[in-house]
C-alpha cells in the first residue's frame, strides 16, 4: 500500500508532448512539397488580367518568366515610371532576352528543349508596344511557346 502511493506521487501527471514533433513534421513536409523557392524579387508591378481559356503550366523547371510592368515605388526614382522588362532579378532591355533564354536552356536537358515555355507575366495596363517588342525578340530567338499569364475571373459566369 505504501509502495503504491509513493510511486504515484513521484511521477507527476504530464501531458505527453512526444507526438508534437510528428504533427509539426507533417506540416513541414506539406510545405516542403508545395514550396517553390522564390527565385526573384519582383521589381515591377504585375497584376495580370482576367481570362477564361486558361491552361496550366505543368513543369516549373521548363518555364522561364519574363515580367513586364511599371517599376515599384522603391525603384521609381532610379528607373522611372515607364513600363520595363524584368528578367531574373534585374531590369533588362529587349536585347538581353536571347542571353536570358540561353542561360535557362543550359539548365534543361537537351531532349526537352522543345518543351520550354516562356511565361509572360504582364501587367494589365501596360500598352502593347513593349509586349510586341518582347514577342518579336522571342520569335527571333526561336522561343515560340509562350504563355500569357492570366487569372481566372472570380465573377465569371458559368
Amino acid at each position: 500500500m505504501a509502495k503504491f502511493s509513493k510511486k504515484r506521487g513521484k511521477s507527476k501527471p504530464e501531458v505527453s508532448t512526444a507526438s508534437l514533433p510528428d504533427i509539426i513534421f507533417m506540416l513541414l513536409f506539406f510545405f516542403m512539397v508545395v514550396t517553390v523557392l522564390r527565385d526573384a524579387e519582383l521589381m515591377v508591378k504585375v497584376s495580370t488580367p482576367y481570362a477564361s481559356e486558361l491552361t496550366k503550366l505543368e513543369e516549373k523547371s521548363l518555364v522561364n518568366y519574363l515580367y513586364i510592368g511599371r517599376p515599384t515605388q522603391k525603384y521609381e526614382s532610379t528607373y522611372g515610371t515607364k513600363p520595363r522588362l524584368q528578367l531574373g532579378d534585374k531590369f533588362a532591355t529587349i536585347s538581353d532576352i536571347p542571353l536570358f533564354l540561353e542561360k535557362h536552356k543550359i539548365k534543361v536537358p537537351e531532349a526537352r528543349h522543345g518543351q520550354i515555355t516562356s511565361s509572360l507575366r504582364v501587367d494589365g495596363e501596360v500598352t502593347m508596344g513593349i509586349v510586341t517588342d518582347v514577342k518579336t525578340q522571342l520569335r527571333k530567338s526561336g522561343q515560340l511557346k509562350v504563355n500569357y499569364s492570366a487569372k481566372k475571373d472570380p465573377n465569371a459566369k458559368q
Binding site: K3, K6, K7, K10, S11, T17, A18, L20, P21, I24, F25, L27, L28, F31, M32, V34, T35, V36, L37, R38, T48, P49, Y50, A51, S52, E53, L54, T55, K56, L57, K60, V63, K82, P83, T117, S119, D123, G124, E125, V126, T127, M128, G129, V131, T132, K135, T136, L138, R139, G142, Q143, L144, K145, V146, N147, Y148, S149, A150, K151, K152
Partner: protein, 184 residues
C-alpha cells in the same frame, strides 16, 4: 527499492521535446519562402520569325474575320465598330456559318481570324480580345465533340478524337504587325 524502480523507468526515455523546436524552425522557414502561385495562362504558339516580307496571298473577303483594336481599346470587327461582349458570338457564327450566308466563311477550315492591334492598346484589352476569340473556338470544339462523341471537349480526351476535331475546325489566328499611332 521502490525509489530506484521509478528512476529506472524515467531514464529510459529520450527527451524529444526539442525535436518540436527544430521542426518548428524548418516549418517557419518553408512557410516564409512558400509562394503558392497559380501558374495559369493563355498558351500561344508564335509564328517563326522570317526576314522576308510575307507574300500576300489573296484571300476571299468572306473568309477573313478581321478584328482591329485601336489605342483607345475600341474594337472594329469586319469594318464596323463592335463591343467586346458580342465578339465571341460573332466569331462563332462566322466560323461555323450555320445558315450558309454569303458573307461568312465557306467552311471552318477556310476561316481565318486576323487580329491587329496598336502599340498603344492596353495589354488588358488585347488579352480579353484574344481570350474571346479562343473561347469562340473552344465552344465550337465543344459543340462538335458533344454532337459526335457525346463528351465535352477537353485536353485529356483520346488523341484521335482531339485530332479529328482540330482538323475539322482548325484554330487559325493571324496577328498582323501592330500599328504605332498611340504609343505611350
Amino acid at each position: 527499492m521502490a525509489k530506484t524502480s521509478t528512476r529506472d523507468r524515467m531514464s529510459n526515455e529520450i527527451n524529444a521535446g526539442s525535436m518540436a523546436d527544430i521542426a518548428f524552425l524548418l516549418l517557419i522557414f518553408f512557410l516564409v519562402t512558400t509562394t503558392i502561385v497559380e501558374d495559369k495562362g493563355i498558351t500561344v504558339k508564335l509564328p517563326p520569325w522570317s526576314e522576308e516580307e510575307p507574300d500576300i496571298t489573296k484571300l476571299k473577303k468572306r473568309n477573313v474575320f478581321s478584328v482591329l483594336v485601336n489605342a483607345q481599346d475600341q474594337l472594329l470587327v469586319r469594318g464596323e465598330p463592335a463591343r467586346i461582349e458580342e465578339l465571341r458570338g460573332r466569331a462563332k457564327e462566322f466560323i461555323s456559318n450555320p445558315s450558309k450566308l454569303e458573307n461568312l466563311a465557306e467552311k471552318p477550315t477556310k476561316a481565318i481570324i486576323s487580329l491587329k492591334n496598336d502599340r498603344g492598346t492596353s495589354y488588358d484589352a488585347y488579352l480579353t480580345v484574344y481570350n474571346e476569340l479562343k473561347a469562340a473556338y473552344s465552344e465550337l470544339w465543344d459543340e462538335l465533340s458533344q454532337r459526335r462523341y457525346g463528351v465535352p471537349y477537353s485536353e485529356d480526351m483520346p488523341f484521335a478524337y482531339k485530332k479529328a476535331i482540330r482538323e475539322e475546325i482548325p484554330f487559325v489566328l493571324s496577328e498582323a504587325e501592330p500599328t504605332a499611332f498611340g504609343e505611350e
